[in-house]
């Protein structure tokens, strides 16, 4: 481990020696240079694997280019984009992805907040609680997908026998035989795996809400719900925004669960899955690149929307409170 941290300090004497001799400006110039030098490797690495391929994708998306027939590479301009945007499959998959994102994030926000409340209040077995909540977080998504696929399996799953008392579930209910049950199973796996992350972020926000303020609200006769909506939630808006932003964009990339559980059958394909299929299975690099660019733009738009939305929302909440 010491080699890991040794390097910044090796530069250290150089930094502290400087100000003694030179004036303030020279010092800040040196500091500036050292700072840039220290972040350079990380920045280059991050750009090398994202910006450069993205430019490549932008270029390739203008071509009809199939890897199995590289000689037929042909410039088509924005043709690939027109094809994609005019295809109902693209819109179906985008709709699926947005639906999964909205439903899972909303459910996770509620369950995650409930978890955070319990973790915040609990005074015994905190270690046990932390350990168990971190297991879904750490588990491989593919493993989670298998666990839930088997849970919902007709022959080998326990859902059908445990929940037989519900009117719409029988011993022969085939969860992966229809669109909505399959979507449900996929969302359950996604929610199970990522709620812990959400609850930990919310817990961090919850622990910053001042106890005095809550006590004051209580003394003033605020009910539990009033305290929740007028004191606790407005005071954790930063934590909520971070949690929603991270989780929403993460949910939008959903791929692993769908790949394992349905392989896109029953119209459960997501945008990521469609892109993957075009590139890796069909080797349509041109079309796939157009999808990649669209996916990237959608994520940018989403991030912007979430940031905007929350600001507006919070301003209103403040006005009301």
């Amino acid at each position: 481990m010491s080699t890991t941290v040794a390097t910044p300090a090796a530069q250290e004497p150089q930094r502290t020696d400087k100000p003694a001799k030179a004036n303030v400006t020279a010092r800040s110039v040196a500091e500036n240079r050292l700072g840039l030098r220290l972040v350079a490797p990380a920045v280059i690495l991050m750009l090398l694997v994202t910006a450069w391929p993205m430019i490549q994708a932008l270029y390739l998306s203008m071509f009809r280019y199939r890897l199995t027939a590289p000689d037929d590479k042909e410039f088509v301009g924005l043709g690939n984009y027109a094809t994609v945007l005019g295809d109902s499959l693209f819109w179906q998959d985008t709709f699926n992805t947005v639906l999964i994102m909205v439903v899972t994030v909303a459910v996770e926000l509620v369950i995650g907040f409930a978890f955070a409340m319990v973790m915040h209040r609990i005074i015994f077995a905190r270690g046990l609680m932390r350990t168990s909540i971190l297991i879904p977080y750490g588990i491989i998504t593919v493993v989670s997908a298998f666990a839930w696929q088997f849970t919902f399996s007709v022959n080998n799953g326990w859902v059908n026998s445990w929940f037989e008392w519900l009117p719409w579930i029988g011993p022969d209910t085939n969860w992966f035989g229809d669109h909505w049950p399959a979507m449900f199973a996929i969302m359950v796996s996604e929610i199970w795996k990522t709620t812990p992350f959400m609850s930990l972020l919310l817990l961090a926000g919850l622990s910053q809400v001042s106890e005095d303020m809550l006590e004051a609200a209580k003394v003033d006769g605020a009910t539990w719900w009033q305290r929740l909506f007028k004191v606790i939630l407005p005071n954790m808006r930063a934590a909520i925004m971070v949690a929603v932003l991270f989780r929403a964009l993460d949910a939008f990339r959903i791929f692993d669960n769908i790949f394992v559980m349905t392989k896109g059958a029953q119209d459960t394909e997501s945008s990521s899955f469609l892109t993957y299929r075009q590139v890796i299975e069909q080797l349509q690099l041109g079309m796939g690149s157009a999808l990649s660019v669209l996916l990237f733009l959608t994520v940018l738009l989403l991030a912007w929307l979430i940031v905007k939305l929350f600001r507006v929302d919070l301003a209103q909440a403040r006005g009301e409170g």
Binding site: M1, V5, A6, T7, P8, A9, E31, L34, G35, L38, V39, P41, A42, L45, M46, L48, V49, P53, M54, A57, L60, V118, M119, R121, I122, A125, R130, L134, I135, P136, G138, I139, I140, T141, F150, T151, V154, N155, W158, S161, F197, L203, A204, A238, A239, V242, L249, F255, D256, F259, T275, Y276, Q278, V279, I280, L285, L291, S292, F296, V299
Partner: protein
């Protein structure tokens, strides 16, 4: 107050069930014999518990190769990523330089980047550079995608370190190397370690690039190998063996979580709240 405690207790039990039931389920499934799952076995616990699946899976050369690849790739990517992230985070936490904000924003943007969008161009580039289906072919992108998390976590930790202690030690007669080794390293180590754990989790879990940029068991990692492990009949997967493989790859995660739970929670939330 009493009512609250009951609620907390019930919530506690519910959280434990929520988190551990699916894990208990794959463990139980891993002890069911192939005959039992082939015939259909909807009950939770196995009829006759057997270790057959564990013997089969650990004898399966593809799975053992994938385990080796996963450990190798995840550990190397983690090590390199943490080294670079430490340099960058140190600069961000301690130095004033132009472009500091830009670096943090870039890291944030990359943390949210849709990985699938890179699969096509990377696939193309890696084949040209001879990186397709190699360890470095996965290690490089894993480093890039774990750097943001590592930088944010480490910068948050480094900001909390009382760096004046270093000067204080030097005033007391320590050399700058001693001051660094005896004062700064012990203070920074927990943060570096936490960043390493989170990075390792990412690399151990990653799936999209693992299936797209590999083609043989020479570099395929466990998540990718598992998804190819479906068997001849897609409607009747080898439940027991898949569950067993899942249990095997979850063991390292459980061990890490058991030992370092406090650090992981601190690391996950530090960047989010203060950043």
């Amino acid at each position: 107050m009493k009512k609250n405690n009951v609620g907390t207790g019930v919530g506690f039990v519910l959280i434990l069930v929520w988190c551990l039931l699916p894990v208990a389920w794959i463990i139980s499934l891993s002890f069911k014999s192939p005959e039992e799952t082939a015939a259909g076995s909807p009950q939770f616990l196995p009829k006759d518990a057997t270790l057959q699946n564990y013997r089969d899976i650990l004898d399966n050369p593809d799975f053992v190769d994938a385990l080796r690849n996963s450990f190798g790739i995840a550990l190397i990517a983690t090590f390199l990523s943490v080294v670079f992230a430490t340099l960058a985070a140190y600069a961000i936490a301690r130095l004033e330089f132009r472009g500091k904000k830009a670096v943090l924003s870039l890291a944030l943007a990359i943390a949210m980047f849709p990985v699938v969008a890179l699969v096509g161009p990377l696939f193309d580039m890696w084949r040209t550079f001879g990186l397709f289906n190699t360890w470095p072919g996965l290690i490089i992108p894993y480093m890039s995608f774990t750097l943001p998390l590592a930088i944010w976590t480490l910068a948050a930790f480094f900001r909390e370190i009382p760096w004046e202690l270093e000067q204080a030690a030097q005033v007391d007669g320590a050399t700058s190397w001693q001051a660094f080794r005896k004062v700064i390293v012990p203070l920074a180590a927990p943060g570096v370690f936490t960043a390493a754990i989170l990075t390792f989790f990412f690399a151990w879990n990653e799936f999209v690039l693992a299936i797209s940029l590999t083609s043989t068991t020479g570099s395929r990692t466990v998540p990718a190998q598992l998804s190819y492990f479906v068997g001849p009949d897609p409607f009747n997967p080898p439940y027991g063996q898949l569950a067993t493989a899942s249990v095997v790859v979850t063991v390292p995660i459980i061990i890490i979580v058991l030992i370092f739970q406090r650090k992981i929670v601190a690391g996950l939330t530090s960047g989010a709240v203060k950043g």
